[in-house]
Symmetry: C2
């Protein structure tokens, strides 16, 4: 078998995206928080992160999947090596990467955090789950918590010696948080007593850190029903005492799920029994407080699709170049053995090209979103920040949904390259398929993302798709080999969107029927933008980008036509079933 | 949670296909072997098979997946309950269903065997693996083995008290059997000594039967290289002695694979160390002897896609009707709670309709193929048999490839209906996804099937696609609501095929680049045929077929355009990677 624990951080392509495609350093110069950062430093950060991921995490990926987590006497035990790797991660200062310097962070841009996240997922998705909301929880507390809570908890989170969880879902309340029932009763000392059951809590318990900081959605006694009556609370597993030490809180892990994948991640059923908690932000405004982390959380989940696609590409390419079966239709010069590498067979070759152009295209688009989020937070002018915010609001549901769906499908294509070996654990690709599957579900299912994009962001907002279309048209306006094709697809997006808006006036269900395919259509055109630009701006050292762009426009973009046709087909009513 | 072990045999739709769509009984009347069979008897057979599957096998599906197989001291232990269920299966006479009466079989048509196979897979794919090649091995021995071997082995296989395996794959020889190395040396007594290593042998060892009959591909000393030097041998695990009892043979199970799914099925690495074996058929003609079972084996694997889609549909529909999240855009009359069943939400409703029309469409097409194979074997006139054979030769790669791909994708769609619950084992749908995945790989990967269809069956044979096109055009010629659409797509098939044949003359690689998408295009048009016919001939009791057909033509067939475009795109060369 191949060395299945091997992962090569795609540093060269990361540098291409950051330095050529984005030219990020020019923007960093304009951001006071990042003015000191240059491209070389960014490269070094990526390289060090890559070393950690490839060296420490990738070797634990397969064993973690086989071993999984166990629960004994209410305590989770994570797979061998997971906790030790985390302690090294903390020691190297990675949790603080994108946290503000004022609370002990390194204050690096979210773009670098995106690159780190891609590599973490490529190396070990299950391990990464424990810190999946670390930065989001930091941002939430940083923005909404009282100074007292911030002083008590933020430094621990930034250092990483405590880890947070996000406790949203309840058995009856999944996509519909309005149905949640967990109660919070005010206590005399200004704190609250939290009671209720939460499920699907990643890292709800673990054996990595001394304390776990649960961010819990619950209802106050006077809460209105639905999503307008939800408040956010900080509920530590152990309550830090003034004089040092801890008091146990009434927070219990009742079970862990047996899952399809990410088995090294503990997915816990949590019970709060009058546990002590503290309000974060305003009463009944818990969703708003939580949604401060939403764009970056969605981007991060989208990047999981990219991370899995990259791993799948590396695994499939290595195998396809090594494995010899049958002679190629067109044999390479000098080949006269009884078989050729399967990478030469057209069906396999097409899978490999699909993997390559999707992976590199998603990287450009995903990092772009990370950079746009940095601009939204740090650009010097308010107008630029607002424009970036509007663009990010459109990009995040697209990236979350398109990347996770495609990450799964691409991993599945890669599996096929391995034939029967693809189905056995040893070759790791089947784990990639299983791990990748969750990303289509959590952080808002892909269906929810699509409704968010079409109904809330495009049809209900005055600007609609314009912030994205402007960026795409700006590229199409620069004459290049693929600019005419991009221009044409921008026109399609515009007319398709207008027609949907018009027809929705007389067919209230139309947006809900069309949303997923509409998102895919926009996503494909956004990828066309990524490849059009890549082919135009690539320096000679990246001349291969032009070959990849050609494959994208010849073979991949064909599918955009299909999504356009499906949006059109959604005019047909669909009977109840 | 829902009762996840529940499976309802789709007897009504099976009856629709057999009695209305196929009108099979009329053909049975013309077949001497089946003239006594009528529709009512066929229904009763299906009902009894369904009772067995739902009652005995479905309850073992999830537990078998969790427990898996173990290997100890070279002996496989299968999951609890598996062997006992098999003994009941044997007692009820199911193994003999489609075997010839002359060797103790019930002589029922392969069409009923297809229905049985669908239900077996829907209930418990892993369990079914042990008897997956039972009928194929029977057919192979029945046609090619010496009278002596037949007398010694066939009655046991027909009764099911011994089970066969098919030993093809070796570590270096997967899709390319020409590379296989297992050796067979002639012995003085007319038998052979077989030495070599085989992998991926389903049921290579098990604890169900007293003996295991391995059908092994190996090379004789004077064998030419490649596929023209492969012979087929019967190698029993234990050699039956003339006076009764057995002598152990040198056949060893060295390991079992840890797999993505079908974990209750033992996938064995087998070692033959000068094991005694007997030649089946002619020397060096092993592939021909084995290929007698190829059409029905491919059909059966295709039906696995159908079986998984049916299970996925049943699971998703039950869950979607029960689970309430958010209010529907258009609420049903009288609905005033805080949430509606998710089956009412358009994105979920579309998934359910996709599952329904694909499942029912695949059933019509798959059973048609089973019936055509019966006609190929049993029709009174040689010309009809030849026509049926030509049609089956086209249908089998399409069904194998299209159904298994779609079965996996549909199970994956169904998983999404469950949200987070879909990812946990308890709700069973994730197992369906994992189990379904293997069918795209084994019995010739879907890529191999596509090359077989386009290169060998369509472009290289004088009749090309004509036998299938004729059947499709005969339906399109009957005026009905969807006949014009079907007619149009038949024209597309014809022009697309002609253009490929023409362009392949100057581009030798084109068929290999286009084959998969070509197969999908043909498959979609074949499904359009199935739904066009269903809508036309359904009696009032099946009026819902017309609603389903409408959904198929409105929403699903849109994708055919995409595969046509992809076949067109395959004109672009694809660089090495």
């Amino acid at each position: 078998m191949s060395d299945s624990s091997h992962y090569t951080p795609p540093l060269t392509d990361m540098a291409f995206v950051m330095e050529q495609w984005l030219n990020a350093a020019d923007d960093w110069q304009r951001m006071p928080a990042h003015a000191a950062l240059d491209a070389d430093t960014a490269r070094m950060v990526c390289e060090a992160a890559g070393d950690f991921c490839a060296g420490q995490l990738a070797p634990l990926n397969s064993s973690g999947d086989m071993q999984g987590c166990t629960l004994q006497d209410g305590r989770v035990r994570t797979p061998d090596g997971f906790a030790a790797a985390y302690h090294d991660y903390v020691e190297a200062g990675w949790p603080a990467l994108a946290c503000d310097a004022s609370v002990g962070g390194q204050g690096l841009p979210g773009l670098l955090d995106a690159a780190l996240n891609e590599m973490l997922i490529s190396s070990n998705h299950a391990w990464t789950m424990y810190l999946g909301i670390l930065h989001g929880a930091y941002a939430c507390l940083y923005t909404h918590a009282s100074e007292e809570l911030k002083a008590q908890y933020l430094p621990h989170l930034v250092r990483g010696d405590w880890l947070p969880t996000m406790c949203l879902t309840e058995p009856q309340a999944g996509s519909d948080l309005g149905l949640l029932r967990t109660q919070a009763r005010p206590d005399a000392d200004g704190s609250y007593r939290i009671s209720g059951n939460k499920i699907f809590i990643s890292g709800g318990d673990q054996d990595w850190t001394d304390n776990i900081v649960h961010l819990v959605l619950a209802r106050l006694p006077d809460a209105p029903p639905g999503t307008k009556g939800i408040s956010l609370f900080l509920v530590p597993k152990r309550i830090p005492l003034a004089g040092g030490g801890f008091a146990d809180n009434a927070v219990y892990c009742d079970g862990i799920e047996k899952k399809m994948g990410i088995k090294g991640s503990s997915t816990c059923a949590m019970r709060f029994e009058q546990a002590q908690g503290w309000l974060i932000g305003q009463p009944h405004r818990g969703l708003a407080a939580m949604f401060v982390m939403m764009n970056s959380a969605r981007l991060n989940v989208g990047l999981q699709g990219l991370g899995h696609a990259e791993t799948a590409y590396q695994l499939a390419l290595a195998y396809a170049r090594e494995r010899q079966q049958m002679r190629a239709v067109v044999r390479p010069e000098g080949s006269n053995g009884s078989a050729d590498p399967i990478a030469l067979h057209p069906p396999v070759r097409r899978i490999l090209w699909d993997l390559r152009v999707w992976t590199e295209g998603m990287r450009a688009l995903g990092y772009w979103c990370g950079h746009v989020l940095d601009l939204a937070a740090q650009a010097p002018e308010a107008a630029e920040r607002a424009r970036a915010q509007a663009l990010a609001a459109l990009l995040t549901p697209i990236i979350k949904s398109l990347f996770t769906e495609r990450g799964f499908l691409l991993a599945n294509e890669a599996l096929q390259v391995f034939g029967g070996y693809g189905y056995v654990h040893e070759y790791r690709i089947e784990q990639t398929v299983r791990d990748a599957r969750i990303a289509m579900i959590y952080e808002g299912t892909n269906q929810i993302q699509a409704l968010d994009l079409l109904q809330r962001k495009v049809l209900a907002a005055p600007e609609g798709l314009a912030p994205l279309l402007e960026a795409l048209r700006a590229e199409a306006a620069q004459p290049s080999i693929h600019s005419a094709a991009l221009q044409g697809w921008c026109d399609v997006l515009e007319t398709t969107t207008q027609a949907l808006a018009q027809d929705a006036l007389s067919d209230a269900e139309l947006p809900a029927r069309a949303a997923e395919d509409y998102l895919r259509l926009v996503g494909f055109v956004a990828l066309a933008f990524a490849w059009c630009r890549a082919a135009r701006i690539a320096t000679d050292a990246f001349a291969h980008k032009r070959e990849s762009a050609r494959y994208f426009f010849d073979y991949v973009l064909v599918e955009a036509e299909h999504w356009r046709n499906r949006v059109q087909a959604a005019r047909h009513p669909v009977a109840p079933i």
